[in-house]
């Protein structure tokens, strides 16, 4: 086994965002990567972060896969990149369930993303312009293939664990299926093996909002020196509702009015919930690229693990050897318990080593990002059990 190499941080050219000091590595340099669409792609750049220390045996690495609008910053990013806090600070850090004193935690921005990994807002070397709508359509499996190349570059043969929620959970499932020999344990969270018609429908609403924005220019907005921020904001607003629950929305806002004592009989944001959503939409456009949103939601829509294996999820899992723990949340109506249970049932069909915990919460799909003590405690217990079997404790 080769010793782990830590690729140098590159300062990358291009848009202003790309001058920021993301830690990146060039992948698929020797030969381009084959995509599910049939196209080949590469070389490309992948931005990643790591927390903790890789042990001598290279056996304590955990890969965290992010969701649709997530990124590689599990913990707080450097101030020059963003003032936002990391998206999984409840889970990752010293003494946390993904304990960085024990584990080497890696997270990378997905292929097609906009936080340093090559995506549609980057420059196509063949044309000298942003890829825009000529960026190849990618799939969840393509994202995972790219992550496997990153692990190769880091000198990590086997992951102690791969985990992630929502779209991150889809990547976890692909990891279990595509690279069974490289996954010791896996924790798919609030996810599905098949993107449902309802979820495709929600994604389509978001895409149509972006494409209906005149500033979208058929995806070529970079050449026009503009961005479809209004469409992207509406897409985010619609999606954000699906991440919450009716109970959580009611508890947080009810029908409370925003800075006023009576309705204005107009279309200002009279209600706090309107003001909240507008704020969510506006701040999102500061950090996310509209074309990335189109490409990544498309990848989610195409995700259908049984279809990749003759229509049988059990067949898909035939070679799975990892210890697995599936999590769902009672009030999650985007990736409901029933869809997570389908994963568990198919894993039982191959007598896989699977656990399944449904966490009672009223916080909806977003619960996996929040401080849910039962969730954190159960996941930590699963990882400790897996670590004992891996000889890490």
């Amino acid at each position: 086994m080769t010793p782990p190499t830590r690729p140098e941080t590159h300062l990358t050219a291009g848009a202003e965002r790309d001058r920021l000091p993301f830690r990146t590595v060039e992948l698929a340099e020797a030969e381009p990567m084959r995509l599910d669409s049939g196209a080949t792609f590469g070389p490309f750049r992948m931005a990643y972060e790591s927390y903790g220390t890789l042990n001598e045996a290279n056996s304590n690495a955990i890969l965290v896969c992010h969701a649709l609008t997530g990124d590689q910053f599990l913990c707080d990013p450097p101030a020059e990149i963003s003032s936002r806090s990391g998206w999984w600070t409840t889970m990752v850090g010293p003494g946390k369930p993904l304990n960085t004193e024990r584990y080497f935690v890696i997270s990378c921005n997905v292929l097609g993303g906009c936080m340093g990994t090559t995506g549609p807002s980057d420059v196509d070397p063949a044309t000298g312009h942003a890829w825009g709508p000529s960026f190849p359509v990618i799939t969840i499996r393509d994202m995972v293939r790219a992550q496997a190349l990153l692990l190769d570059a880091l000198g990590i043969d086997e992951l102690f664990c791969v985990t992630g929620g929502s779209m991150g959970g889809m990547q976890v499932l692909e990891w279990m299926v595509c690279y069974p020999e490289r996954v010791f344990s896996a924790v798919p969270i609030a996810t599905s093996a098949t993107h449902s018609a309802q979820n495709i429908a929600f994604n389509e609403v978001g895409r149509q909002a972006i494409m209906a924005d005149p500033e979208w220019h058929g995806g070529d907005y970079a050449r026009h020196g503009t961005r479809p921020v209004r469409g992207l904001a509406v897409a985010r607003m619609a999606a954000h509702i699906t991440y919450l629950s009716e109970t959580a929305l009611h508890r947080k806002f009810g029908r409370a009015l925003q800075d006023r004592s009576a309705p204005t009989f107009g279309f200002d944001a009279d209600f706090q919930v309107e003001s909240y959503l507008r704020h969510q939409g506006a701040t999102f456009t500061d950090r996310f690229d509209a074309n990335s949103y189109l490409y990544i939601t498309r990848a989610m829509d195409y995700f259908d693990l049984p279809a990749e294996h003759g229509g049988s999820l059990v067949e898909a899992f035939r070679k799975v050897s990892a210890r697995i723990c599936v999590f769902s949340f009672t009030s999650d109506w985007l990736y409901p318990t029933s869809e997570n249970r389908e994963i568990v049932r198919a894993l039982n069909g191959v007598a896989a080593n699977v656990s399944f915990a449904e966490i009672e919460t009223d916080k909806g799909h977003d619960a996996f990002l929040l401080d849910e003590p039962k969730f954190l405690r159960t996941l930590a217990g699963f990882l400790q059990g897996a670590a004992r079997h891996r000889g890490l404790s």
Binding site: R323, C325, V344, R345, A346, N348, G349, V350, A351, N353, V354, S355, F356, A357, E358, I359, E360, K374, R377, T378, A380, G381, F382, Q384, G385, A386, R388
Partner: protein, 211 residues
């Protein structure tokens, strides 16, 4: 709760669970149905090095098990066993859960499909104290093994050891071992498949196989 006995390695479990654990060969593949908070499963994994899985109805029980590092899913033994392939386990354990099953007959057949051996324990309605209780008070027996009143128990198919053996006979199930536990939670000297075991055993513990 019946008293526990200390065992080698320091772990302590209830006697009826200990009897079950003693029937399991080290390193086996084990499925514990109705595993509760995982006391037996944890014992089997740590002391007998089994590849252990559990199914538990209550989510609180499941979460407790997973927190302890055990592989357990939330599920109902009446509905959720169909996914498992034939012979997926060396032992399938049904501890104190049979009387709560909706279809005990079908369940027993299902257990012997997915497991090479099945270990079943249940409270014995043929136990002399239960018989006397019903005869004397005219009420459903409340004993150490059956502590709940009739309206609060989750048991819907109570049976005696004789009832159970008759069913096994009808289904062609082989009785490999037959033990009983007395009202002090100790292994009873009355064992086997005869009338005395049915009279003197407060609980029955059986190792079943395909005949």
């Amino acid at each position: 709760m019946t008293p526990g006995t200390p065992v080698a390695g320091g772990a302590t479990i209830r006697v009826d669970l200990q009897l079950i654990a003693d029937m399991v060969a080290p390193g086996a593949r084990v499925l514990d149905l109705g595993c509760g908070e995982g006391a037996l499963l944890e014992y089997l994994v740590t002391e007998k090095d089994v590849d252990g899985r559990g199914v538990e109805l209550s989510q609180a029980g499941v979460n407790a098990c997973v927190s302890r590092g055990l592989s357990v899913i939330q599920g109902d033994v009446d509905f959720d066993l169909g996914d498992y392939p034939d012979n997926s386990f060396d032992y399938v354990i049904l501890s104190q859960t049979l009387p709560a099953a909706r279809h005990p007959r079908e369940l027993l057949l299902e257990l012997l499909r997915i497991g090479n051996c099945v270990i079943v324990s249940f409270p014995n309605m043929g136990y002399w104290r239960s018989r006397l209780y019903l005869l004397w008070y005219g009420c459903m027996p409340v004993t150490g093994a059956l502590p709940s009143l009739w309206w609060e128990t989750s048991n819907i198919h109570l049976c005696s050891i004789r009832d159970f053996l008759n069913l096994c006979g009808d289904l062609g199930i082989a009785i490999e071992r037959a033990l009983t536990v007395n009202n002090r939670g100790q292994v009873s000297r009355f064992r086997g498949v005869g009338r005395i075991a049915n009279l003197m055993g407060e609980q029955g513990v059986f190792l079943l196989g395909r005949s």
